[in-house]
Amino acid sequence: MRFLDRRIHLITGKGGVGRTTVTAALAKASARHGRRTLVLEIGDPEGGYSQLGRLFGHDQLSETPVRVAPNLDLAHLWAPIGHEGFLRSVLPGGPLIGSALKSKALRKFLNAAPSFHEMGVFYHLLMRLEEVAPGGGPAHEVIIIDMPATGHALALTGLPDLLLGLIPRGPIAKALRRGQAFMNDPAKAAAWVVTLPEKLPVTESLELLEGLAATRMPAGGLILNRFPHDPFDADERAALDAFMARQPVHGGLALKRIDQAQGAADRLRASTELPIVTLPEVWVDDPVPVLEQALHGAMAGGAR
């Protein structure tokens, strides 16, 4: 699992696959490897609580990073911060910048157009990437982002090409190309697809990989979450199947899921050359520590 030598990681996957939990575990593992790590969520203008924040004991996140563990900061990307940063960077000082930042109409417009809203998120990310630590070097060596549902994730990775089609010249185009230099470079950035060892999620994750490739986002690999442990040898399994056919008991579903998981993993391996990191199914209230341990190991060595 090539993780620690890249700057940006987008954690993607359909709802219900445990994406946010995996994001939190990846962030903790990266920090434990000694990397100055920033874990981000994309701030939702509709409000509500933060799912990622709750895993670290924060109901709400803000744009200012908070330290949640040694080497680990937590924050969200917030479009208006990106808008302001962008306007400050392109406008000469004086009255022009003042009237831009004061104009409610302009702010409203930038937030009401989804692409410009995402441009704000994108620019805020760029600001974080270019931030310098007090002692030199990047403020955060590894930045991990919990990406929202598939459609939104692809909207963000596809944003530069979409907007460059509309606005091929000028400062927005320049900022987008600067972002692309990071995001589309497999040495610097990777998208990870979190999925489950079941038929439909595997199909959907393969579709998501195609979508990411279409937006020129490099893929780091797949994270096969909640993989059930198979404790039976072949004889035991045959005896058990014969027994269960006559007498249904609890545990039957577990057997079905073990078979499905194996089938799904085989199909995934046959369909992609990308690294696949398998995470165990954990029957506890807080699975983050166990997943962190597994990912800490995977980051240290190869995995497939």
């Binding site: 359909k14 709802g15 219900g16 946010t20 509709e46 509500g48 609580y49 799912q51 962008f86 306007l87 392109v90 406008l91 022009l96 009237s99 831009a100 409610k104 109409a105 302009l106 409203k108 417009f109 937030n111 009401a112 157009a113 989804p114 692409s115 410009f116 809203h117 929202p148 549902a149 459609g151 909207a155 979409l162 089609g165 509309l166 000028g170 400062p171 927005i172 185009a173 079941e198 038929k199 439909l200 199909t203 404790p231 039976f232 004889d235 035991e236 399994r237 045959a238 005896a239 058990l240 014969a242 007498q247 249904p248 008991v249 609890h250 545990g251 579903l253 577990a254 057997l255 079905k256």
Partner: protein, 380 residues
């Protein structure tokens, strides 16, 4: 409120529109399709409108190629699914750009204006440029489907996002673009000297930030599109009362996952407190609650000739069975909690995990049966 007992079956009889909401990955589209199938079996002419179906379900419904009009299932397929006349099942996939293009054709003052707007690069990406286009066009489509007497019932599957219910907000809030101030940003009208100086200043800002070409594209777009938004706005207003009437019901779909349940509660608060809507009930999908009463392996008498392999297998099965039984109990508790939350007028309806690879309509048959008769325990 109607006096009919709260059940999915009664809901299908009473409603003209059923809206399914919930987090991503909980099986909203599956539940929507099952509801539609169940209603069609009761003799209703049903349309299911989806936003983002899985490939497999889209193929099963015949909408995988994004057809302009709803697609009716072939009579042979209907018969195979147990749907007899007058019942029928059609499906349609929402495409905001297509709906918007139709409105532009119908509502522009002249064909030249329509052509000019359709060719405008900003308009060509209208969904990416105008917040709320998905909501606007969903309501616009619902408006025409509800008036359309080809359908007795429309089942709407919403996108998996927190603002999925935004189409129920006042139109002014859906389309922040309708804001007069934004409009004036690009198409400045008359005003005081101070306002004109201020707008000249902003024009300079726009030219620097966006470039002159794009600023002009935006100007043309705003001039021509404001009228189209005005039309969408009128229908949006018309539909607000309808969505709050007894003909419409909202279902919250969730899986037993903690995160999904939290999202469902978030939606409940939104529908009830903020939007003042009547909640039909909860659908707990992929639940193990049905199997809560299965025996544990240790409690079952083993055959006298049990092999050593079976003995050790049963020994190893014990912790898995333990975890599964615990999960089944948790799911049953959750079902009870949802029933309580749904209140007297609502219901919480528990669906099992479907066999792997569900998504084809045939696989949804069991769910559709369970819908009508809540005592039917579908095969898990």
């Amino acid at each position: 409120m109607s006096a009919a007992p709260a059940s999915p079956g009664a809901l299908l009889q009473r409603c003209k529109v059923i809206v399914c909401c919930g987090a991503g990955g909980v099986g909203k589209t599956t539940v929507s399709a099952s509801l539609a199938l169940a209603a069609a079996r009761q003799g209703k002419r049903v349309l299911v409108v989806t936003i983002d179906p899985s490939k497999r379900l889209a193929e099963a419904l015949g909408v995988d190629r994004n057809p302009p009009e709803p697609v009716a299932l072939h009579p042979e397929r209907l018969a195979a699914l147990g749907i007899a006349a007058p019942g029928s099942l059609s499906a349609w996939m929402l495409d905001p750009q297509r709906v918007s293009d139709e409105v532009v054709h119908a509502q522009s003052r002249t064909p030249e204006e329509a052509a000019r707007l359709l060719a405008n690069p900003i308009y060509r990406n209208v969904s990416a440029m105008v917040a709320g286009m998905q909501e606007y066009t969903a309501v616009e489509a619902m408006h025409s489907f509800v008036l359309d007497d080809r359908y007795d019932l429309v089942v709407l599957d919403t996108p998996p996002s927190r603002n999925a219910l935004r189409f129920l907000d006042a139109p002014e809030r859906v389309g922040a673009f309708l804001d007069k101030r934004i409009f004036n940003l690009f198409v400045p009208g008359e005003g005081s000297v101070i306002r004109r100086v201020a707008s000249k200043m902003l024009e300079k800002v726009m030219d620097v930030a966006f470039g002159e070409d794009t600023r002009r594209d935006l100007q043309v777009f705003f001039e021509l599109f404001s009228q189209i938004l005005g039309h969408l706005n009128t229908n949006q207003h018309d539909m607000q009362g309808f969505f709050r009437s007894e003909a419409v019901s909202f279902l919250l779909v969730t899986s037993p996952d903690r995160e999904a349940v939290q999202e469902a509660f978030f939606f409940e608060k939104k529908t009830r407190e903020e939007l003042g809507l009547d909640l039909g009930g909860y659908v707990l999908n992929r639940s193990l609650a049905w199997s809560a009463e299965l025996p544990m392996p240790a409690a079952v008498r083993r055959p006298a000739d049990a092999s050593p392999a079976l003995a050790s297998a049963l020994h190893r099965l014990a912790p898995l069975a333990q975890a599964e039984a615990q999960l089944a109990r948790t799911h049953a508790d959750l079902a009870r909690e949802l029933r309580q939350r749904a209140g007297t007028g609502g219901f919480a309806w528990v669906l099992p995990r479907l066999p792997d690879g569900a998504g084809a309509l045939e696989a949804l048959s069991g769910l559709a049966d369970a819908l009508i008769d809540p005592d039917t325990r579908p095969e898990a």
